[in-house]
């Protein structure tokens, strides 16, 4: 179908605010790229510049190697699914889907055939005569999808399309979007602030922060080797624990005074941040010996959140203001107020420097690189 190429794309508003600071991104044919980031990071602006709803200040945007910077939205051959669906309230479901085709002068019989086929695909056949206000949230969402699909565009753009749905429907629609996108083999860019949605949908994930791309890669690559502290904290739920550590020769000094044996080769006395995911903190079975190069964190459990399969323990570590979160097995009997010995092994740890950049691979992270 199509490829998408962004080179040093920049968006500056007349009031001087720069929303996008030179974005570089290449989307392959048939790929689903998810752009994720906190509110105000520029992800929606980026999507709107792709759609042609916002002008591009500098840089280049190409669809199928054709420069489209100055083309109208209609001429870019893209379709967009909006957060609030943006269905035309005065038109039936059929007319909503047919509108784009009518505007392009498609023959009546063709329109009928294509709308019916799309309605079939999305299970909307019985709803074609309804008005949007007579539909449930999930149905509206499907009509919005149908309106995009029926035009057979080069690129699909999704602007947080699931955020107005309840949790159960969101999971269902997420799967449906994924299934449809693969089946139609269409190139898609999907914007969301929900990292679970991002992880599950993406072929490739782009994490944005303050108008810049922090990191780009497969969901698992970002999970395993976050390039910055920001990405580390954003990807994964519950979020990664960050412990301030100090380099002491060949060891790292933890906030509670414990020391972790790492052949770091770092400057003595350097202040770093050690990141460890809740699911990589383990407990030690009774009587078992501490593994070599591991260090124990003696914590007090402040709060537990039983999730069924897992239990989240929010614990307090001496010398640290933030709670340390551990994801324990659901069977693990743990009570609020008790002390809990968490084991920090040398594996699956992430080290970030004072600027939040991931440190070049040391022993701590080499283990998990595939």
């Amino acid at each position: 179908m199509a490829t998408l190429q962004l080179s040093a794309l920049e968006k500056r508003y007349p009031n001087g605010f720069t929303a996008l600071h030179g974005i570089d991104l290449a989307v392959e044919d048939g790929e689903l790229v998810v752009i994720v980031g906190p509110s105000g990071c520029g992800k929606s602006t980026l999507l709107r510049t792709l759609a042609g709803l916002e002008s591009i200040t500098a840089g280049e945007l190409a669809i199928n190697a054709r420069r489209v910077n100055d083309l109208e939205p209609a001429e870019r051959d893209i379709a967009m699914v909006f957060q609030n669906y943006a269905l035309y309230p005065h038109m039936s479901v059929y007319d909503n889907m047919a509108y784009g085709l009518k505007n392009r002068g498609v023959a009546k019989a063709d329109i009928r055939r294509r709308v019916n086929a799309t309605a079939e695909l999305l299970d909307l056949g019985a709803l074609l005569d309804r008005r949007p206000r007579q539909l449930s949230g999930g149905q509206r969402q499907r009509v919005a999808m149908g309106r995009a699909i029926v035009r057979e565009p080069q690129v699909f753009l999704f602007d947080e399309p699931l955020s107005n749905l309840d949790a159960k429907l969101r999971v269902q629609m997420r799967l449906e979007i994924r299934r449809l996108q693969k089946r139609l083999g269409v190139t898609a860019v999907y914007v969301t602030h929900d990292q679970t949605e991002a992880m599950t949908l993406a072929d490739r994930l782009v994490v944005m922060n303050a108008g810049r791309v922090e990191q780009c890669g497969t969901p698992m690559a970002l999970y395993d080797r976050p390039a910055t502290r920001f990405v580390a904290g954003f990807i994964g739920s519950p979020a990664m624990n960050f412990l301030p550590v100090t380099v002491r020769g060949e060891r790292l000094e933890l906030p509670d005074g414990g020391e972790l044996d790492l052949a770091t080769g770092l400057d003595d006395g350097a202040e770093l941040t050690l990141g460890v995911r809740p699911e990589h903190l383990t407990t030690l079975p009774d009587g078992a010996a501490m593994p070599a190069s591991a260090v124990a964190l003696d914590t007090r459990v402040e709060l537990i959140e039983p999730l069924g399969a897992d239990t989240l323990a929010y614990t307090r570590l001496a010398g640290l203001d933030e709670p340390v979160v551990a994801r324990l097995d659901g069977e693990h009997a743990v009570a609020e107020g008790q002390t809990l010995r968490l084991v920090l092994t040398g594996e699956r740890l992430h080290l970030f420097d004072a600027e939040g950049q991931r440190l070049a691979e040391r022993r701590c992270a080499v283990d998990v690189v595939s």
């Binding site: 759609a51 109208e72 209609a74 909006f82 943006a86 035309y88 005065h90 509108y99 505007n103 392009r104």
Partner: protein, 291 residues
């Protein structure tokens, strides 16, 4: 006084000022007019006599009445459609303005704050055959403007003045209506390949239809009743009755001609007519503007 009684009395006390005003200035005179419509009275109001439906019969047999009815139809349609079309055009433009939007809006709303009689005088002077700026301009274009002699020109002038006066009111509502249309709808339409013109007619205009319907009713009522002061100051219903609308005829026959019975009968008929029109609009148009 028990608590219960006080509970019953207080609401009436609070409503009393409004009720008294409405009663004295609306219900009482209205009832008087309805009563009067069934009597013949001498010019000095010294004696009167029950006349049954004779007043109505006389009015309905009078050619002047049908002329006024025809004038009213032309006048009302022109004023309502003209004022709405211009207001919509201005509202669409103002909605797109970003810098100085408030200044534009304020300026466009201003005419509404001008009293109808003042507005009438203003237009009368602009188009005055001997003093007027506009009529002088028209003269240089070879158009002989004299609304004191030419009935069509006179009608056109009162239509212009009334449209100008009502436009601001419509503008406010259209602008508010436009601002309730989500941007994303127009963006979706743009992506769907609709140009600005097509976007307006297939998305914006249909979505404004509840506003348009409301304004159609309000403009109809305005054109029928509230243009009296404008007509009175600009043309005084002339020349030769060319700008005498139904409401102006009520005034002319009643207060100039002192035929109070006929005037009252006409006002009752006018009330019924406008009531019917509004009813028809609600029954047949309103159901088509909901989505």
């Amino acid at each position: 006084m028990t608590h219960f009684q006080r509970y019953r009395v207080t609401p009436w006390l609070l409503m009393a000022p409004q009720l008294i005003i409405v009663g004295v200035f609306f219900f009482w005179p209205s009832l008087q007019a309805v009563e009067q419509a069934f009597y013949v009275e001498d010019a000095f109001g010294l004696s009167r006599q029950f006349a049954g439906l004779a007043n109505f019969a006389a009015v309905l047999h009078e050619p002047d009445y049908y002329q006024a009815l025809g004038t009213t139809v032309v006048f009302s349609l022109s004023v309502a459609l003209g004022a709405m079309a211009i207001a919509l055009l201005l509202a669409v433009q103002a909605d797109r303005v970003i810098k100085g939007a408030n200044a534009y809006k304020t300026l466009l709303i201003w005419p509404y704050a001008v009293a109808p009689a003042v507005a009438g005088v203003l237009w009368m002077f602009l188009f005055d055959p001997t003093l007027g700026l506009v009529s002088a301009g028209l003269e240089s274009l070879g158009i002989d403007w004299n609304h004191n002699l030419d009935g069509d020109q006179a009608l056109l002038l009162v239509i212009l003045a009334s449209v100008w006066k009502q436009m601001s009111y419509n503008f406010v509502f259209f602008l508010a209506g436009l601002q309730t249309i989500p941007r994303s709808l127009l963006e979706a339409a743009a992506i769907d390949g609709a140009g600005p013109w097509r976007r307006f007619w297939t998305v914006t205009f249909p979505l404004l239809s509840p506003t348009s319907f409301f304004l159609l009713v309000m403009n109809g009522v305005y054109a029928c009743f509230e243009t009296f002061a404008t007509i009175d100051t600009v043309t005084g219903g002339g020349p030769a009755g060319a700008t005498t609308t139904l409401v102006y005829k009520v005034y002319e026959d009643g207060f100039i001609g002192q035929d109070l019975g006929s005037s009252a009968a006409q006002s009752v008929l006018l009330m019924i007519l406008v009531g019917l029109l509004t009813l028809i609009q609600f029954r047949f148009v309103e159901r088509r503007v909901q989505y």
